[in-house]
């Protein structure tokens, strides 16, 4: 067919092609004829397994670099689903050994079948005894392997559990909605661990290994290094937080301390708490049941998720709206006779204070004065100012759960209670009773706005993100807005004068710290569930606010007697912090 000779260049091209094909053929020969047995072994016994190498999770530090959460080494008993000839028998043997239900093992095996060559963790953080026992029963437990895995270590014990949060195994729901998780993975379930899960968790590595007949890794075929997670630096000041937690010991309540200038949250304490290390290796059924059925609700963050009647602390809103709307001035006088008649009803105050001006009225928390101011301002404007200062809505703090609270209105009452708004409702609202519900965190934000001339900050726990080598990746800044109502400087000045008087010889005198110019307001909030709640909300220094402190003691009875002394302890402990303001803070 080839009549005449090929052109030399075409011929040379042909030679190149033949050489390339010879190379392919040579490779085929070496793989199939020479190494064929080896590859056949690999394929016939399906001896390649993928082991997940968990990535160390990022650490959590307080604002001064004190480590709060790190990792420690632990052992995890895992199973390779492909290697298990008889799941029922395996569950039978393992359940008592690991102290988990048979069904749980079977469920996990079933879930793992979708990725049959990847290991599925059955029980994390097992004791050395269990490790030894599993190793001894190797023959009876085909497919069961022991892997080293880092677990969470909480260096300060039961410290700030509502802030730090905890981990748990990823749920079916989370697997569906989030990328990059496999069954059995740990994921942040609450607190910072949850909000910043993407930051803290790294990328797991993988080991592709050749296993023997019992599923034991023999030889590493491929390796992908785990990439550790990044670390978080929080705004929390661990020593202040510890003072707050000590002050709340034995009580139910919450303490918030925040820098009103930046929204940095230095303290977010809630009592009772829990020990987050219970969750380290996966929480046991018994412990989980104990935490969730405790009537003191230890899992609830009272600071951010709990809402309570603010009582007289709400008078800050009533006073501010009345001053701003011009219905009262500093020297207006009121007759605090101890009661107020409204139609056929008589509303009783705790005591009679005689004739008072506005400042004195705030100082002694005269209900009659605030009732009159509330009536003069009216429910719609009270609600407008309350909402303008951030009450009745989430604060936007970087936590997974937060309560909105409630600022009632006539429309709301009609809708929910099917009754009209009565003048008595306005009286109750004026003194923070009735339907008003706020979280301690909202109160802290509201007081910040008063202290900072109407600047409304977003409370924030996260400070910085650090790479695994400790270098800064990014830092956080709070969203801040100005309240959407006009607050005349004169109104703010008068209100703050009243709040200073509260701490100087008023209801909040017990909060006073020697040598510190402070302002605040107490509250003793009657509530349908029992003894009144005790509140104190204040800031210092009065002329250049650097710290807002809110103390809430559930059923603490008297704000001035219970909450104010706790606030005093916080301010006292915060002296170093206050001393360096306003010169700026030391960065960790």
């Amino acid at each position: 067919m080839t009549g005449s000779a090929w052109h030399p260049r075409i011929l040379r091209l042909g030679v190149v092609i033949v050489l390339l094909f010879l190379a392919l053929e040579g490779r085929l020969w070496s793989m199939q004829a020479i190494q064929g047995r080896y590859y056949l072994d690999l394929s016939e016994q399906n001896r390649v397994r993928d082991l997940i190498v968990p990535a160390p999770r990022g650490a959590i530090f307080d604002r001064r670099g004190q480590p709060l959460v790190t990792n420690r080494a632990s052992f995890t008993v895992s199973v390779l689903p492909m290697e298990v000839p008889d799941p029922d028998r395996l569950a039978e043997v393992l359940a008592p050994l690991l102290g988990i239900e048979r069904q749980e093992i079977l469920d996990k095996l079933e879930a793992g079948r979708r990725r049959p060559f990847e290991s599925v963790p059955l029980r994390r953080d097992v004791s050395k005894t269990i490790v030894v026992t599993v190793e001894e029963h190797r023959i009876d437990l085909p497919g069961v392997i022991i892997q080293a895995e880092p677990v969470r270590q909480y260096l300060l014990g039961p410290f700030a559990p509502h802030v730090l949060g905890y981990l748990g195994e990823v749920t079916e729901e989370e697997l569906r909605t989030k990328n990059g998780y496999r069954p059995g993975d740990l994921i942040g379930k609450a607190g910072v661990e949850r909000v910043y899960d993407d930051v803290l968790r790294g990328d797991p590595g993988r080991l592709q290994v050749e296993v023997d007949a019992a599923g034991r890794p023999m030889r590493v075929l491929g390796r992908q290094q785990a990439r550790p997670g990044r670390s978080m630096v929080l705004n929390v000041d661990s020593s202040l937080q510890q003072v707050a937690e000590a002050a709340l010991r034995g009580r139910s309540g919450a303490i918030v301390a925040m820098d009103p200038r930046s929204g940095e949250v230095l303290v977010l304490a809630s009592a009772p708490g829990f020990d987050p290390s219970l969750f380290s290796g996966g929480i046991s059924q018994a412990n989980w049941r104990r935490l969730t059925t405790d009537t003191n609700l230890p899992l609830l963050s009272r600071a951010a998720e709990g809402t309570y009647e603010p009582g007289s602390v709400f008078k800050i809103i009533t006073g501010l709206s009345a001053l701003s709307e011009g219905v009262v001035s500093r020297n207006s006088t009121f007759e605090c006779t101890g009661q107020l008649q409204l139609g056929q009803w008589i509303f009783h105050d705790l005591a009679a204070y005689g004739t008072v001006n506005f400042i004195r009225g705030v100082q002694v928390s005269c209900n009659v004065m605030f009732w009159r101011l509330g009536m003069a301002v009216g429910e719609p404007r009270l609600a407008r100012y309350a909402k303008a200062l951030g009450l009745g809505e989430p604060t936007g703090i970087d936590l997974p759960a937060e309560a909105a609270g409630l600022i009632p209105s006539a429309e709301w009452k009609q809708r929910v209670w099917k009754t009209p708004w009565y003048p008595g409702d306005t009286l109750n609202m004026s003194i923070g009773q009735g339907f008003v519900l706020t979280s301690p965190l909202q109160i802290a934000r509201m007081v910040s706005a008063v202290a900072m001339d109407g600047k409304l900050v977003q409370p924030r726990l996260a400070r910085r993100i650090l790479a695994p080598d400790g270098t800064e990746v990014s830092s956080f800044a709070s969203r801040e807005t100005t309240v959407p109502v006009t607050l005349p400087p004169e109104a703010l000045r008068t209100l703050r004068e009243g709040m200073r008087a509260v701490v100087n010889g008023g209801t909040g005198a017990a909060a006073a710290v020697q040598g510190l110019d402070m302002a605040g307001k107490t509250g003793s909030a009657e509530n349908p569930r029992g003894i009144p709640h005790a509140w104190f909300a204040g800031y210092a220094p009065a002329d250049s606010p650097a710290l807002v402190v809110v103390v809430f003691v559930e059923h603490g009875r008297r704000g001035g007697e219970i909450a104010a002394p706790i606030a005093r302890a916080i301010f006292e402990a915060a002296r170093p912090w206050l001393a360096q303001s306003p010169a700026g803070q030391v960065r960790p």
């Binding site: 067919m1 080839t2 009549g3 005449s4 000779a5 090929w6 052109h7 260049r9 075409i10 011929l11 091209l13 042909g14 092609i17 033949v18 390339l20 094909f21 190379a23 392919l24 053929e25 490779r27 085929l28 020969w29 793989m31 199939q32 004829a33 190494q35 064929g36 047995r37 080896y38 590859y39 056949l40 690999l42 394929s43 016939e44 399906n46 390649v48 993928d50 993988r206 080991l207 592709q208 590493v220 075929l221 491929g222 390796r223 992908q224």
Partner: protein
């Protein structure tokens, strides 16, 4: 088929036509397509979509045979005469796929075509560019210095850029191989070609930057398969296990365990060679390579015997296209080449690829039919 048309033109022409056809090329092409269908059935018979895949393959084949016949009947010189239209049309298609294309597996290579599934313009672009570049090269009689290669490099660079943007690294590399082979046969000095290659190497860092993450991972996986055992490296390791375990005679058709267990991703498309290697062993794989060698021998023979320079260059381009596909695809499954995702001609499941390779075969037949007298 074409016989009816030719016979009507007269007995003499009919006899001549019959003798001019390269029956070896047609025979070996048919064997390759048949081999591919066997491998496709074997690799998918255990899955529920097997009937659908087979039906689609039959449609692809029917369209491909029509394209082959059409390409064989059209005078390749008339095709080359329309080079400008073809070139502009190709560029428009490539821009079109970037604008309206569908994404599959992270790349935007397809234009939806209703019941035919999708069309991959970058496949057809290869053949179209062989035609236009051949015409372009035919217009100059010599390539005396390196500078004279630049217009042709630019000719390929524009569509290559569009194809890399899709991104389809494999096809872009195929274009490079076609360009080199055609320039060489057109008379470029080897030193100049090496110079161009060196210049291309300089642009590699730039290329690296416009690559997608997955393309970088694939290249890295080639350099170190263990680095990403479950990603691209995973496919490589599993592919090698499949082929190696086939040993001399293979595990027998329909008996490949690696493929059955779906260890191998895309095993009926880019990794179809692993099916052959595992189930038919060294013997089956060698037979396949020999079939390709025969095909390439016929293609180069057509190039050598072409009536004119245009035909010779065009046939070389088609041969280079098929050669590069086979070497890179088989090399990839054997761990000799990076996983670039280019199909194995005639074998891989994929309509655009089959259509292009069969049309290319038709074009070769067209050149053969109009060869130099007495050659």
């Amino acid at each position: 088929m074409a016989g009816a048309v030719a016979r009507r033109a007269g007995a003499a022409v009919s006899t001549r036509w019959w003798h001019e056809v390269d029956w070896i090329l047609i025979g070996v092409t048919a064997l390759l397509v048949a081999y591919g269908i066997v491998a496709l059935v074997s690799s998918t018979h255990a899955t529920s979509d097997a009937p659908a895949l087979l039906r689609a393959r039959a449609i692809h084949l029917a369209i491909g045979v029509l394209a082959l016949v059409a390409a064989a009947m059209i005078d390749y010189r008339r095709l080359a005469g329309a080079a400008k239209v073809i070139y502009v049309g190709t560029l428009l298609m490539l821009v079109g796929v970037l604008v309206l294309g569908e994404s599959r597996l992270g790349a935007q290579r397809w234009i939806a075509m209703g019941p035919f599934g999708g069309f991959q313009p970058s496949e057809a672009a290869k053949l179209a560019l062989v035609i236009t570049l051949a015409r372009h090269l035919d217009a100059v009689k010599a390539l005396p210095r390196m500078r004279s290669l630049f217009p042709f490099a630019a000719h390929m660079a524009l569509p290559m850029f569009l194809i890399i943007r899709q991104p389809d690294l494999g096809t872009a590399l195929v274009l490079l191989a076609i360009l080199a082979a055609m320039l060489y046969v057109a008379g470029a000095r080897p030193g100049d070609l090496a110079g161009i290659a060196a210049a291309a190497a300089v642009t590699l860092p730039f290329l690296w930057r416009i690559l997608h993450d997955y393309q970088r991972r694939r290249l890295l996986a080639f350099l170190d398969p263990g680095a990403d055992p479950l990603g691209s490296g995973y496919a490589l390791i599993q592919s090698k296990i499949a082929i190696g375990s086939g040993q001399l005679f293979g595990k027998g058709l329909f008996s490949g365990t690696q493929n059955l267990l779906r260890f191998i991703p895309e095993h009926h498309t880019d990794f179809i060679f692993t099916v052959v290697g595992e189930e038919l062993g060294l013997i089956g794989a060698t037979v396949l390579l020999v079939l390709y060698l025969i095909w390439l021998w016929r293609a180069l023979n057509i190039a050598a015997g072409a009536r004119d320079r245009l035909g010779a260059i065009m046939a070389t381009g088609i041969a280079a296209m098929i050669m590069f596909h086979v070497v890179v695809n088989v090399g990839m499954t054997l761990g000799l080449m990076p996983v670039t995702g280019i199909p194995l001609p005639f074998m891989s499941y994929g309509g655009s690829s089959l259509l292009t390779t069969l049309a290319g075969t038709g074009l070769l037949l067209s050149i053969r039919l109009r060869r130099r007298p007495g050659h």
